[in-house]
Symmetry: C2
Subunit: 324 residues, 2 copies
């Protein structure tokens, strides 16, 4: 199955999705300046990125708007203020979490919205609601992906059932999401095999969203694209929850399609991302994330360790081993 020896060439079906604002927003509660977002938008256009995810369509009932930056809610008018009519090749995406959004009211006709792609994020135990969200979004005219989170915690037979249900919806893309950064490339290859069975049966595309707990976000993305996965998530400088994601600069360094350019990514990081580090916005590989990744745990304990500016890794190791 593996597409070896394809490094020199490229597959035109590959799509690069910039998830910096959405996954990175989990690090700074979505408090990005308008200048940051506007420059990121232009950097993505110049870099040839295919989709830019602006953030979440979170419920304004459940979440207090005064406690988060605006990209947790991604109101159409806020996106418009950045992209105008978006008369470019870059498409606009937002994520909608099952159980944390009011999709029936907040996801309006695509003709009235700057958004092109709705990414429905679900766990395996909420597939029927995901199906309802997918059908709503497709009916409103959007492209739709379904991102199955915490894939490392699922039984393969349950995953197969979920993909068979999702295959019968009008969703465009099935996503593999290694939320815990727990998977090795060999395991990615096995999971892709399962996804391919249903993607081929139902004519869907496959995507991957990786986390870097074991410094494998890029490697797992390489494994996936070599196995036929087309939709690839990345974030500038790897910015994302906990250990972060597959870095955009690494991914564009790998892809050989001449439409992609690494220089605008480097320039944006130079201008904007190092400043974030100076403001104590912290993400990236460190031992606490390795530990939760190894144990296939949600990274929340590791994120707390980071927030408390702890560096007693060995104590943390004993804590997480006790909880296991």
């Amino acid at each position: 199955m593996k597409e070896l020896a394809k490094l020199m060439d490229y597959r035109s079906g590959v799509r690069v999705v910039d998830a910096t604002l959405r996954d990175g927003g989990l690090v700074n509660n979505f408090y990005f300046t308008d200048e940051f977002v506007r420059d990121l938008y232009h950097a993505n256009i110049r870099a040839g990125v295919d989709y830019m995810e602006f953030g979440y369509k979170a419920s304004k009932e459940m979440f207090d708007e005064s406690k988060f930056g605006k990209w947790k809610f991604c109101k159409d008018e806020d996106i418009r203020a950045i992209v105008g009519e978006n008369d470019t090749d870059l498409k606009i995406a937002v994520m909608a979490d099952v159980g944390r959004c009011d999709y029936k009211t907040d996801i309006v006709d695509r003709t009235d919205s700057p958004v092109d792609l709705i990414r429905v994020a679900t766990y395996l135990n909420t597939i029927p609601t995901a199906v309802d969200m997918i059908e709503h979004a497709v009916q409103k005219g959007y492209e739709v992906s379904c991102n199955i989170m915490a894939i490392s915690n699922t039984q393969e037979s349950d995953l197969a059932i979920a993909l068979d249900i999702l295959g019968q919806t009008p969703v465009d893309v099935f996503y593999i999401v290694d939320s815990y950064g727990a998977l090795y490339p060999e395991q990615i290859a096995r999971i892709v095999d399962i996804y391919r069975n249903f993607a081929e049966k139902y004519h869907k595309k496959i995507g991957i969203h990786a986390h870097n707990n074991q410094q494998l976000a890029f490697a797992n993305t390489i494994e996936a694209v070599g196995d036929g996965v087309d939709w690839l998530d990345a974030t500038y400088y790897g910015m994302g929850r906990g250990a972060g994601n597959c870095a955009m600069e690494l991914l564009l360094g790998l892809l050989r399609n001449p439409k992609y350019h690494i220089a605008p990514v480097l320039k944006f990081i130079d201008q904007h991302m190092t400043k974030l580090h100076e403001k104590d916005v912290v993400w990236g590989y460190d031992l606490q994330y390795l530990m939760t990744g190894l144990l296939n745990h949600h990274p929340k304990t590791a994120i707390q360790f980071t927030k408390e500016k702890r560096s007693d890794y060995y104590e943390f190791y004993k804590e997480v081993m006790e909880q296991d």
Copy 2:
């Protein structure tokens, strides 16, 4: 060829080599405290690491001893002061660079030395001297590996010739060394194929030493061990020149042989490595190393950029593109 689906089990022939002092010494000019070295030695014993590389056997004629820490020279008495009779399962290694050591005088009988393994490091254009060093070291009673550096810059047919010459020596291990951090896992698989041809013909083992310029040091090591490579280099917290190496904590998290233990590694990092960061000893992935890795350059320009505490990545990108 690929050993897929072996993650749950282990291969008893695997050997883990801790290269922290040697490759990490390139970051701090080998100025490690005795306490650091002694604690590292004991951590390696507890972690089940197979070999600990103490540093280089560098020529005291060529290099001024007053300008480097003692582990650039690895005098037998300095090693003895740490390990005594080394009555443990951990073996002691040193590296000897072709052209930068006085092997005929400095590599004495193994019975008079605490060292078990001599790692001969060579480029492809100095193979005959490497052969002479190998023969000298084997004749003195040591285990010997030959580390072929800058493998990403070699022609495959030249590499095959070199391996055929080395195969006829009494060397024990052929090493793949991705000095520039330029290789993707798929390329590692291809290079391992070439090595295997000669390793099988001449009954040698294969090793890998990876660099992390593209966050692939661990992934390339996983690829290699899955393809039958037995000797695996790693360093605590990934400490090593430029972007650093495959992290020991990641590697021991992967390996399933019950002899290996991750906890002593975490404890050592907790006690010693975070302090190094505070002292401005800097290594690890960053954009300057990605750029030299992508371009298959020696990391020296990126190391200079780091030393000068520059963060104008985009200017650096233009500089290296101009030089290319």
